[in-house]
């Protein structure tokens, strides 16, 4: 946009040249404001234009937060020489943004925290199909049925429990309905992973079965917390004995406070029980991307042993590519979990889940 750059520069030059001749305070204030505005335009319109359209630089809309993946992006750049421009945001909002932008979207890649947002972008026809060399690396339940996105790391729902007070933790979600847990279960009603567990419940048990379980669960008076981390705080403080969370919150807590100070354990739920649902973070390439080769390199990188090991060790997730295991020997392998066989493409109906949760009084008040 050279004319705007030029205009701003001219405005600023005039303003700066005129400034000394203006005596009144108000006049000078006006000049300061004009200069600031012109500076802003130059900085925004002209300054960054030289950097943002660099050949080969890749724009990633990142629903995964900076503190989790920024160093991974740096590793990619170091390995391939391809610069990454990451825009961090909420996965759902980034998905809405991509759909709203349409084919002019500057995004090359969408790296989402969960499958739902990927499914929505895919349904809007904004993804291009991934080659089978990529799709084949990951079990098919963790990628799109139509091959437009692929999961790169997994997290599993667990029952975290106070390992001093609780000796026999529940082994299925139905055990949670036992009256002995009344008022003793913590959960995070607005958390996306909890909600996709409920979606999984709907897929596995049908609408009626899911509603039945949710009503019984609500009757057991679970305690609502703002976040998964707060649920673990609640267990540590003795407010509740059990918590429905993702597995890695415990790892993070141990890392922050030291193993000897954490009296909480994870109960993994096997036997295909809905409580052991695996969610994935995944990635897709925009059909409007002008850097498809670089974008594909990025997706391949996320599935490479380096990145998979990073997920297993740094973010405490599960690698989805076989052969990569966490350095921590206490971490179970994904294959040993016997998680329910749900195709994550079926988890897109999040809005209906929220309606159901509202209906049974577990979401809003």
């Amino acid at each position: 946009m050279p004319n705007i750059c030029w205009l701003s520069e001219v405005t600023m030059k005039i303003a700066v040249n005129e400034a000394p001749s203006i005596r009144s305070r108000r006049g000078r204030l006006l000049i300061v404001a004009t200069v600031a505005l012109a500076l802003g335009l130059i900085a925004g319109a002209c300054g960054s234009s030289s950097t943002s359209n660099e050949e080969g630089s890749l724009t990633v809309y990142s629903g995964r937060s900076e503190s989790l993946v920024a160093s991974l992006y740096e590793m990619f750049t170091a390995e391939t020489g391809i610069a990454i421009e990451a825009r961090y945001g909420d996965s759902g909002e980034l998905g809405a943004q991509i759909i709203t932008e349409g084919s002019a979207s500057p995004a090359d890649v969408f790296f989402s925290q969960d499958a739902g947002a990927l499914g929505a972008v895919s349904a809007a026809g904004r993804f291009s199909e991934l080659p089978s060399s990529i799709l084949d690396q990951v079990p098919s339940q963790f990628s799109a049925t139509n091959g437009t996105w692929v999961g790169v790391s997994g997290r599993v729902r667990v029952i975290a429990y106070d390992n001093v007070k609780v000796t026999n933790p529940p082994t299925s979600i139905d055990d949670l309905l036992d009256p002995k847990w009344k008022g003793q279960i913590g959960y995070a009603p607005t958390n996306a992973s909890w909600q996709s567990f409920v979606t999984g419940l709907r897929v596995l048990r049908g609408e009626d079965g899911a509603e039945q379980w949710l009503r019984a669960f609500a009757a057991n008076q679970p305690k609502a917390y703002e976040k998964n981390g707060a649920v673990l705080d609640g267990i540590a403080k003795g407010e509740v004995q059990l918590g429905l969370v993702n597995h890695y919150y415990l790892n993070e807590r141990i890392k922050a406070k030291g193993a000897e100070n954490v009296k909480i354990s994870n109960q993994y739920i096997g036997n295909g029980d809905p409580g052991g649902l695996v969610n994935v973070a995944g990635v897709g390439i925009l059909s409007s991307s002008k850097h498809k080769t670089s974008a594909q390199k990025f997706v391949e990188f996320l599935l490479s042993p380096t990145a998979q090991q990073y997920f297993a060790d740094k973010t405490f997730e599960f690698a989805l590519v076989s052969g990569v295991t966490a350095s921590d020997p206490t971490q179970p392998t994904l294959a040993s979990l016997q998680s329910p066989a749900i195709d994550l493409s079926d988890l897109a109906s999040l809005e209906q889940t929220q309606e159901l949760l509202q209906k049974v009084g577990l979401l809003t008040k």
Partner: protein
């Protein structure tokens, strides 16, 4: 009886001559109309998006029990928050301006500072301390805490402007003190109170941070959900339009309730500052009551943020990063403020000076989208921006533009109030002495409205600082503000890691908030 009414209605000063063709410079009128057009842009997006699946979808979405319930829930939230803000705002303004309450100067500042608190921070602070607050009353608590200064500020300002001689006259004509209070004083503050109430009502409708954290299902919650969980922009647009319809009613209601405010419009002449009412021993309970307001709206959330901050201080704080984000935040907020004031002043002047319907509608349009949550305005700018000016997409000018659309209405109210109290007669005589209408605007209207402009600017500045959803959508890649950094940290870890950003954000936003007190004080 007739005489008393006549006294109350007296307007020393000059009423506008009916024959004036247009009371303001054409330049002012054009920029004002432009401001309204800019403010209406999101509506264009909403109409396109809402109709994208045909009219049937629109009717189906609106015409269901759930939507009706939603309207009721949001209206009751807005209503309760507005009513409480009116009570708290008007009462505390009265105590501070018209009584000898101990420490009224300190209270005058402390009662404005809650404006600096982002709703999501205050809500999170409360709910982490008292989890059972979740729901309607938690949302009411947080929204009232943050927005009652919208009422307090203009009401305090108008109480300060009241000419005590009018009250003397009213008393000498046989009105009792109670009559004076209700028929004169209350009437004089009514325009200020209703203008404030409108801002509170629209804010309560548009806020997402408080209702999300308090888990109260309001319109904004469902609109966010339609994007985040339903990936259904059409549904979000339809619901947004319903929200716009509600806000049109609010904006219209304010016009009706405001009254003409003529009793407050006193021209030059010998006026007397009002006496401070001597409160006897009752001033201590009164001060205690105001202290409770300050503790609940300001101290408690602030202390909780401080507590997280000291937790975080143990694990180290990257002050360089915080300082960078702060500079960036102040820079964009400043640009946005300049832009918002540039459009708000002409819109306000037009509405204050031209009583014709088109002029009033122009100003009102600016308010109509103020009930929409930031994500809707942000996506509207995404939709239109990437199609109309793709080269500016996710560049600073477009972000600033979005801020202007979002927040120029905040400045319009206080500028308008300021212009309305400056005598038209001065402008008329200046013009009759040969000044052009634009010169009159520049040399008389603007300087006289300066307190209002400064107040409006301060309000825009601190609100832009706290803005999150539109910033995330439209910021230049790599630009971090305090609000985005705060969000960035809360989305993974707990609030301790985010607290340094929350603290700096509150402290920096407190500067323009405190400034608001002083610009009003100097009136």
């Amino acid at each position: 009886m007739m005489t008393k009414e006549a006294v109350l209605d007296q307007t020393p000063g000059v009423r506008r001559r009916a024959s004036m063709p247009l009371g303001v410079s054409p330049v002012v009128a054009i920029v004002a109309v432009l401001a309204a057009a800019i403010a209406a842009l999101p509506l264009l997006y909403l109409l396109i998006q809402a109709s994208s699946r045909g009219l049937d979808t629109v009717v189906e979405e609106i015409w269901q029990r759930r939507t009706f319930d939603l309207v009721l829930r949001s209206l009751s939230l807005a209503f309760v928050v507005t009513a409480l803000s009116l009570v708290v705002g008007v009462c505390s303004a009265f105590f501070i301006v018209r009584t000898n309450l101990p420490g009224y100067r300190i209270f005058a500042v402390a009662l404005v500072l809650p404006l600096a608190m982002p709703s999501y921070v205050a809500a999170y602070a409360w709910i982490s301390w008292v989890p059972s607050l979740a729901g309607f009353w938690g949302a009411v608590l947080v929204l009232t805490s943050i927005s009652f200064p919208f009422v307090f500020l203009p009401v305090a300002a108008s109480l300060r402007r009241i000419d005590a001689r009018q009250e003397d006259v009213a008393r000498s004509l046989g009105l009792t003190s109670r009559h004076v209070a209700f028929r004169l004083t209350l009437r004089q503050i009514r325009p200020a109170a209703t203008a404030g109430a409108l801002m509170v009502g629209l804010y309560a409708l548009s806020d997402f941070g408080a209702v999300a954290t308090m888990r109260f299902e309001s319109f904004t919650w469902v609109i966010f959900g339609a994007y985040r969980a339903g990936f259904n922009p059409t549904r979000a647009a339809i619901l947004s339009l319903a929200l716009v319809a509600i806000s049109i009613i609010f904006v219209w209601l304010e016009l009706v309730v405001r009254g003409d405010g003529r009793a407050a419009k006193v021209g030059a002449g010998v006026s007397r500052a009002p006496n401070r009412l001597k409160l006897g021993p009752s001033r201590f309970p009164a001060a205690a009551l105001l202290s409770v307001v300050v503790v609940v709206t300001l101290a408690i959330p602030f202390v909780l943020v401080l507590r997280w901050f000291f937790e975080a201080a143990d694990s180290g704080i990257d002050s360089g990063e915080i300082f960078g984000a702060m500079r960036q935040t102040v820079f964009v907020s400043f640009l946005a403020t300049v832009g918002a004031v540039f459009f708000a002043v002409p819109a306000a002047v037009l509405a204050a000076r031209v009583k014709a319907r088109w002029a009033q509608s122009t100003e009102r349009t600016v308010f109509v989208i103020h009930a929409l949550p930031g994500i809707v305005i942000g996506l509207a700018v995404v939709y239109l921006g990437i199609r109309l000016v793709p080269s500016m997409y996710q560049r600073l000018p477009m972000l600033i533009f979005a801020y202007v659309v979002l927040f120029m209405s905040l400045a319009v109210g206080s500028v308008r109030a300021s212009v309305e109290i400056s005598p038209v007669a001065l402008e008329d005589s200046a013009q009759s002495l040969g000044l052009s209408r634009f010169a009159v605007f520049r040399k008389m209207t603007l300087p006289l409205a300066r307190p209002g402009i400064m107040a409006g600017a301060a309000l825009v500045f601190l609100t832009v600082m706290k803005e999150l959803p539109a910033t995330i959508l439209l910021r230049p890649t790599g630009m971090d503000t305090l609000a985005t950094e705060l969000w960035n940290r809360t989305s993974v870890a707990d609030y301790a890691a985010a607290s340094p950003y929350a603290l700096v954000l509150i402290l920096v936003a407190a500067v323009p908030a405190a400034l608001l007190t002083f610009t009003r004080e100097t009136r």
